[in-house]
Amino acid sequence: MKTLGTFLAVALFVMVAAQAAGAQERIASSWTTSTVSGQGQPRGYVEYQKFCSACHGEGVGRPGTLALQAKYKGALPALLEKRTDLTPQLIKMYVRNGITVMPTFRKTEISDADLDAIAAYLTRNNKP
């Protein structure tokens, strides 16, 4: 039951975060506002904010970022938006198949067109 052990440790961590940290720290410890102002932003950015940033954004309480930090230990940026090595295929694979706690996303949630836009946004800085 090794996994369960880890799982419990993580659950414990969340509790620590939630319980130990005072409201003050909590507020201080992050910055993102979760309202999206789409004006002038590329569609991929807007869709990313809408569907991905709650998990893969910056700040505390972002499971995706947390998991990638633990996975790459800094070898790669934990923030997807800072990556330059993602391929559209890879992005689509994760969105449609999920990975560990990341669930699959249906086409009624993220349409294929939205997904293309998100892929374009996340690969914008890739070397040609």
């Binding site: 996994t3 880890t6 799982f7 992050s30 506002t33 633990a70």
Partner: protein, 528 residues
């Protein structure tokens, strides 16, 4: 192409064709690639044949389309499994309970029909998520709060109908609803409460209307498809503050909870709070050793350990909502009450005043407590496991019950060879006004054997809880029959009543077969 149970391929393809005509080819999903997106990402049946997988999915965009879809399903007796956003991960997600059902995906119906700032209510469609409504309110700058469930991508309707809970004064989500529109199994549309009165002016202001109040029947059930639902919102208060109470002795939990219950029942504490033990957060070899010895650490030993290090034994953090002077006065009153416990210590939390400045942070772990949705809860297990499901019994709001539950489940975990540790469950928390909710997370593996063992353990826990008079408030689709079985007073009178109703309102049994242990007649025998 997969085919639903008891339906001929010919009938099914006819139905598919009619659905495509009714809602458009793009929104009828039949390829394995597309329908696989409806599998439960946190299924305890991964890689097993018994995993319930849908045969297809249909995604209507309007009530009329829902009616059309249901009528077609009715003619061909095709089982439909309705989901709102399908994101109640840990309780079933978007997958049906009966393999081969067609998922009726309402995500496209995501209209926010009304938000009333003066009377503080909203009317929404099933596809509207907490994120959606939060954004809408922020953009319009309305002075009302939503009460998000922990997963912010959940649907207000879906979560309320699953009877989920949050943390603000409106945290009992089904209790906070007011008025429904429902499509029945025969495709007819019905409105409840004042909505049954054409041109009603108070659909979202008085929930009961006239005559039998039927709304509750459509929660945790399969009697109809909810296409609109009203919710009462909490007006943005002037401020929010927390105060922490810490007590030194093991037995102090009894007066601690008694005082908490008094404050909640008196409407002085209006939000969710959790009884915790700071000792559980200490990472100290000495403490670990103390716990490791056979039989574990005794309360006295832990008290001593805590006393030596000036640590409390139990603590709770109380949330207060309202005018700054009032929350201060309420906290002061609370301190008076708790001072009756010898050695009680208090820590004032910060006061947050609203509205938060536009550039201010609105994302932090407890942000659901101030009505801001997020996904922090998925930090649970996000590093390693493949997801989780929740075992979630309701226990009395007393210190005795907390201690009893703790020892009962600790013994059960040991007996089943599962690791316990100081924090093997979350809570007890007061997500509901008069009782405690305790959450036990079960990891999902991609290892068939482990999942099988976990499922057995899960069912065993349900039985053990029932033997002590504790029932689950909600459960994953895989365990709905087992949980409903535990509610067996007078030879399952309640479930037999549900079945009577089911047969009357859905004679062909096409709506969400098996949901919460309610099966249509033709499948009941198969189950029995």
């Amino acid at each position: 192409m997969r085919v639903p149970p008891g339906v001929t391929p010919k009938d099914f393809s006819d139905a598919i064709k009619q659905w495509q005509e009714a809602i458009g080819t793009d929104w009828v999903f039949t390829s394995d690639e597309d329908t696989d997106l409806y599998r439960d990402s946190y299924s305890p049946f991964w890689h097993e044949d018994v995993e319930p997988i849908p045969s297809a999915a249909v995604a209507p965009d309007t009530v009329e389309q829902v009616q059309a879809v249901v009528k077609i399903a009715n003619t061909y007796k095709i089982p439909l499994w309705t989901i709102s956003t399908g994101k109640n991960l840990g309780y079933g997600g978007s997958a049906p309970l009966l393999g081969g059902s067609v998922v009726l995906d309402l995500k496209r119906m995501d209209r926010i029909l009304e938000v009333n700032e003066k009377n503080h209510y909203a009317l929404v469609e099933p596809g509207v998520s907490y994120f959606d409504l939060y954004r809408y309110i922020q953009e319009k700058g309305l002075k009302v709060w939503i009460d998000p469930a922990d997963p912010g991508w959940g649907s207000l309707i879906g979560n309320a109908v699953d009877r989920g809970g949050g943390r603000t004064p409106m945290r009992d989500h089904f209790d906070a609803h007011c008025g429904m529109e429902v499509v029945l199994a025969n495709g007819e549309v019905m409105r409840t409460g004042m909505g049954a009165l054409p041109g009603s002016k108070t659909w979202q202001q008085y929930r009961y209307g006239f005559g039998p109040y039927v709304d509750g029947m459509f929660s945790q059930s399969n009697f109809g498809i909810i296409t609109k639902m009203g919710f009462w919102l909490y007006p943005e208060p002037e401020s929010y503050m927390t105060g922490t109470i810490a007590v030194p002795k093991h037995d102090d939990i009894v007066p601690l909870v008694a005082n908490l219950a008094y404050l909640m029942n008196s409407g002085i504490v209006l939000g969710t709070t959790t009884v915790g033990s700071p000792l559980n957060f200490v990472r100290d070899p000495a403490l670990a050793a103390l716990r490791a010895k056979p039989g574990g650490a005794s309360p006295q030993e832990l008290e001593q350990y805590a006393a030596q290090r000036n640590l409390p034994y139990w603590s709770i953090e109380l949330p207060f909502y309202g005018p700054a002077k009032v929350v201060a006065a309420q906290w002061q009153y609370a301190k008076q009450q708790f001072s009756a416990i010898a050695g009680a210590r208090f820590q004032d939390g910060k006061t947050t005043t609203f509205p938060l400045p536009a550039d201010a942070p609105t994302q932090f772990p407890a942000s659901v407590a101030i009505g801001v949705p997020n996904l922090a809860v998925f930090g649970v297990g996000s590093v390693r496991s493949e997801g989780h499901i929740w075992f979630s019994p309701i226990i009395p709001m007393t210190g005795e019950a907390v201690l009893e539950a703790r020892s009962v489940f600790e013994d059960a975990y040991r007996e089943m060879g599962m690791p316990t540790g100081p924090m093997f469950f979350l809570g007890p928390s007061s997500n509901y006004p008069r009782c405690f909710l305790v959450l036990f997370g079960f990891p999902i593996e991609h290892d068939v054997e482990k999942n099988r063992t976990n499922r057995e353990h899960f069912k065993r826990l349900i039985k053990i809880a029932a033997e002590h008079g504790w029932g689950e408030y909600r459960t994953h689709t895989a365990f709905m029959d087992t949980v409903m079985d535990a509610y067996s007073f007078n030879n399952h009178a309640l479930r037999r009543f549900h079945e009577t109703i089911k047969d009357a309102v859905d004679p062909d049994g096409i709506l969400s077969p098996g949901r919460c242990g309610v099966w249509p007649k033709h499948l009941r025998k198969a189950q029995a």
